[in-house]
């Protein structure tokens, strides 16, 4: 690789960009699989090589920055996290390879990706619709309906990451992600009918396993970053638990796939794509594990972590629900936090108990500590209504 030209960028800035890129690239890889889109696969590969460059640069800057043993110890932690982000992007590159190498994608993969909590959808903006001519800054999609625009296709070229103030135009194609509720609204805004989320009934067990694996690997990464930001070994231990849960599903998914292969004795390449996907998701979960390793090792965390993560696009924040908040004693389903303020509840901490990725029937209680993921504005809104102040969040800016 040709060494890139020197640009004055600090380790902190680079780490933020690596986190943002790794978040983005995972979703784009899933989008590429869902739509069997060669163009999106190409975009994933482009971002993957950008990630290599970032990794190279962060190594250089870290090497220059270390001046004594103690500082160097802390910096190895930063490099370990950076490598994890790069490992995530490499795993997505493998997913994209399934498309670009024209390995058939098994339909159960698409079903599983559709069944996961977070929906990823490609849509086109109709002329004269509510999105036509609007900038993302004024639309504030993440904090109102929990929808993020991941990539824009204009003049036959996919662009990602999308600038915060990017202008949307008619005939643009978008890749967006968000909760089902928000996805419905964005379709209305774009003036295009939503393709029904028909999830095939084939191989229900395998599909559910794969869907669960995708959710768990996403959450493992989010929680890994939050453990780093909060310096919390507790949250780090949760990531370990999630990884164990993931491994169980992974094991079952492999067995089920192999069983099908043994029974059907056909579509072997398509069945292979399931294993490839499982392997990529496993690499992502392993990357989360190597992030929390930095926290669990108990080497003092570098202050740059908290800053870098709080400056990233999707923020993670710990908010206490105070008595008197409108959230108290309501179920998550009723509150629809994801669809209305754009925050996704990762963990509820109640006393000594942790509820990881709580379901819709879980009620919030006073004095619960909630770890949420969302946009800066969304989290700000959430805090206000929780009557609480965020600890160590991006909202300090």
């Amino acid at each position: 690789m040709q060494p890139p030209e020197y640009k004055p960028r600090s380790v902190r800035e680079l780490l933020t960009e690596m986190k943002d890129t790794s978040d983005l690239i995972v979703d784009l890889a899933y989008a590429a699989l869902l739509y069997e889109s060669k163009e999106l696969a190409e975009l994933v590969h482009r971002l993957e090589s950008k990630m290599d460059e970032l990794m190279y640069t962060i190594r250089i800057m870290a090497a220059v920055a270390a001046r004594n043993v103690k500082e160097a110890q802390k910096i190895t932690g930063i490099l370990q996290v950076a490598s994890a982000a790069e490992a995530i992007s490499n795993a997505t590159g493998d997913m994209a390879d399934l498309i670009s190498m024209k390995i058939g994608i098994h339909p159960v993969i698409k079903d599983a990706l559709r069944a996961a909590d977070e929906k990823i959808v490609k849509l086109k903006i109709s002329p004269g619709s509510n999105l036509d001519g609007k900038s993302l800054r004024e639309l504030r999609l993440p904090s109102s309906i929990g929808v993020w625009v991941l990539a824009i296709k204009r003049k036959n070229e996919w662009m990602a990451p999308v600038a915060k103030d990017a202008l949307l135009l008619a005939e643009d194609e978008l890749v967006v992600k968000g909760p089902l509720y928000g996805i419905r609204i964005i379709h209305e805004m774009a003036g295009t009918p939503m393709e029904p989320f028909t999830i095939g009934t084939r191989l229900k067990k395998l599909r559910n396993e794969l869907a669960k694996m995708r959710d768990l690997s996403d959450i493992a990464v989010d929680l890994a970053y939050s453990s780093l930001m909060l310096g919390s070994t507790e949250v780090a231990e949760e990531v370990r638990e999630i990884e164990e849960a993931f491994n169980k599903f992974n094991y079952r998914a492999w067995l089920d796939t192999l069983k099908i292969a043994a029974e059907e004795k056909k579509n072997i390449t398509e069945l292979n794509s399931i294993l490839q996907l499982a392997r990529s998701m496993e690499s992502i979960t392993d990357a989360a594990d190597s992030i929390v390793d930095v926290v669990i090792r108990k080497i003092e965390l570098h202050p740059v972590f908290a800053k870098a993560i709080s400056e990233s696009l999707e923020k993670i924040c710990r908010v206490k629900i105070l008595p008197g908040s409108r959230f108290v004693d309501k179920t998550l389903e009723k509150l629809n936090l994801w669809g209305t303020v754009g925050v996704y509840v990762l963990v509820i901490k109640r006393g000594n108990k942790h509820i990881i990725t709580p379901g819709g029937n879980v009620k919030l209680r006073a004095n619960d500590i909630v770890i949420v993921r969302g946009s800066f504005e969304g989290i700000e809104k959430f805090q206000k209504e929780a009557c609480s102040v965020c600890e160590l969040s991006g909202a300090t800016k």
Binding site: Y6, P8, S10, V11, R12, E13, L14, L15, M61, A62, V64, A65, A66, R67, E71, I75, H302, P303, V304, K307, A308
Partner: protein, 188 residues
Amino acid sequence: MTMTAYSMKRILGESYPVLILCAILSLSAGLILHSQLESIKTLPLILVMVPPINGINNNVCSILGSRLTSALHIGTIEPKFGKQAILRKNIQATWIMSLGVFIFTSVIFFALSLISGINLLKSLTIMIAFFLASMAAIGVTMFCTIWLAFTSFSKGLDPDNVVIPIVTSIGDIAGVTCLIIAMKIIGV
């Protein structure tokens, strides 16, 4: 490829321009001192003051420069003057550090001038003049250090090979100039 990193040619190539600049700066410091030969003759103690003021000034600012370039690369400081908690803390620490050391040396100069037979009042003024000169020199050098650290980061120059040599040379000029101005003011 691996050889070039340590090759004689590269070491010389990187160091010569900086060293020549440093030689010119330090030489001017010497010339400034020489131009004041007459005043120095009346108070030879000034000559004793030059190494401490330059030495301490340069050391304190080299430490600052080194810390700043690390902080810039890791990203706890951004390359701009302005409100930044960590930058402010570093500057404060440098002030406090030099304040302590210069109070100590000032007192020693007070004692020295008393011993060499200068009266109490004049010894006191000499002490204050030295102290003020050293603080002024630190101020100027510190500003240059911060600026140089920012520049070395923006341009990707080696902080050890560029910032520190230039800082120490600027420190020499600042030290000598401030010392002579202070002595002029008290009328030596």
